[in-house]
């Protein structure tokens, strides 16, 4: 049965209107309809964090939000935040610290990390670990990810 609803949202600064089936979650919509494949699909039940995106300025699980729920919302993905250079310091630090290997978790990890960085509070390593506890990485063992985030926080606080 067709239940599609006309939905308008702003993705990385661009307004898009589509007819969307309610069963489609937001990351499938971004990937399948808009070709934005930087947000990854891992577990599709909110455990792995690979689909982390920003909706109305807050990070959310893209697989746990229906695309029709994003009607009227502002959505930012790894593509938009890379183009705007907002993630550039973290991306550089991830590169320099070997904070990724296969890279599958990295877009979600960067969004979760940036959420903490832009809060502007200086965090302990434990607090960083707690904040990224919802993002699985199966390659790095997290040590280098925490190193990278810590370095960016240190530079941003001093700068």
């Amino acid at each position: 049965m067709e239940h599609a609803l006309e939905t308008t949202l702003t993705v990385n600064g661009q307004r898009v209107t589509r007819r969307i089936e309610p069963r489609q979650h937001l990351v499938d919509f971004l990937r399948e309809e808009l070709g934005l494949t930087g947000s990854h699909i891992g577990c599709e039940h909110g455990v792995c964090g690979a689909c982390t995106i920003r909706v109305n300025g807050e990070i959310v699980r893209g697989c746990l939000m229906l695309a029709v729920q994003a009607d009227g919302c502002t959505v930012e993905t790894i593509e938009g935040l890379t183009d705007s250079k907002e993630l550039a310091p973290l991306q550089k630090a991830f590169h320099e610290h070997n904070a990724l290997q296969c890279g599958f978790c990295t877009p979600g990890m960067l969004l979760a990390a940036q959420d903490l960085v832009r809060a502007g509070k200086k965090c302990s390593r434990d607090e960083i670990r707690e904040h990224i506890s919802g993002n699985y990485c199966r390659c790095t063992g997290y040590q280098s990810i925490v190193d990278a985030i810590e370095e960016v926080m240190r530079t941003e606080t001093h700068g």
Binding site: P22, H25, G46, E58, I59, L64, L66, A112
Partner: protein
């Protein structure tokens, strides 16, 4: 996996929500952080999802003479940041830190958690320890239900057809403590403890210890830790999960009780 097909409607007011949730096969969608996974895993097959997140009457956190009233749509993140919650419901403020991860806390709601009544979840145990009042709204008016009578069985509550959780009211207590053991920070509790001390004595509730949040009335009556830990063996028969046997969970419940004991028995 992908969710089955369903229709979706957004309620803009309580009246509209009441009308929509009485339609056949309708299910309420709030933050969706438990419902959408169960749709994706095809454990739920609604005909219609009624999105209530636009209903203003279900928002807000305010102090009332009877306690702190938290609107059903308050998200975990709002609860975490609320000064009113920190001041008047410190048990909830402690518990929210254990609820999932930041990206989930930005969307999940307290009303959704109570209505789902997952026995491993934090808020049902908090509500039970405080014997909070669950406010249920229906088109014909409100009904108030104590947490002790609200949680019926595994994922079953006293919510009747046509009703929705509108708010929860938390009474003020003298002291409280929330502790939880989980495999990864923010994951489901292996076992969790929510306990309060008020003029009428101690109330100790556990999550992850049964089909509902479970009270430990015998342990709460004891005045020494050793006796309370022995009493816990009669209060709890925790079901085993994939990784922990029943006796491991009981042991861990006793560990949490010992960690909580100083707060619970401190003279005042």
């Amino acid at each position: 996996m992908k969710a089955p097909s369903f229709a979706y409607a957004r309620a803009k007011s309580l009246a509209e929500a009441f009308e929509l949730i009485e339609r056949p096969g309708a299910k309420i969608l709030a933050g969706g952080q438990s419902l959408i996974p169960s749709l994706n895993m095809r454990l739920a097959h609604p005909d219609l999802l009624v999105d209530i997140t636009g209903v203003g009457d279900l928002r807000g956190i305010e102090l009332k003479p009877s306690g702190l009233r938290i609107g059903a749509l308050a998200t975990h993140a709002q609860i975490e940041k609320s000064e009113l919650v920190a001041k008047h419901a410190p048990l909830l403020a402690e518990a929210v830190k254990h609820v999932a991860h930041p990206a989930i806390r930005n969307r999940g709601t307290i009303g959704g958690s109570l209505a789902l009544a997952d026995p491993a979840a934090e808020y049902p145990a908090v509500a039970l320890a405080l014997n909070a009042t669950i406010v249920l709204a229906h088109r014909r008016g409100e009904r108030r239900m104590s947490a002790e009578h609200f949680f019926k069985s595994l994922f079953e509550t006293d919510i009747r057809p046509g009703e929705l959780v509108a708010a929860v009211e938390l009474p003020k207590v003298e002291r409280s403590v929330f502790l939880e053991l989980a495999r990864r920070h923010g994951d489901y509790a292996i076992i969790g403890l929510a306990a309060v001390v008020s003029a009428s004595g101690k109330r100790i509730a556990f999550c992850g210890a049964g089909g509902t949040p479970v009270l430990a009335p015998l342990a709460a009556k004891e005045s020494t830790l050793e006796a309370a830990q022995r009493a816990l063996e009669k209060d709890l028969q925790p079901p085993a999960d994939l990784y922990h046997s029943s006796s491991t969970k009981l042991h861990l419940a006793k560990v949490l009780l010992s960690r909580a004991w100083n707060t619970l028995s401190k003279p005042h």
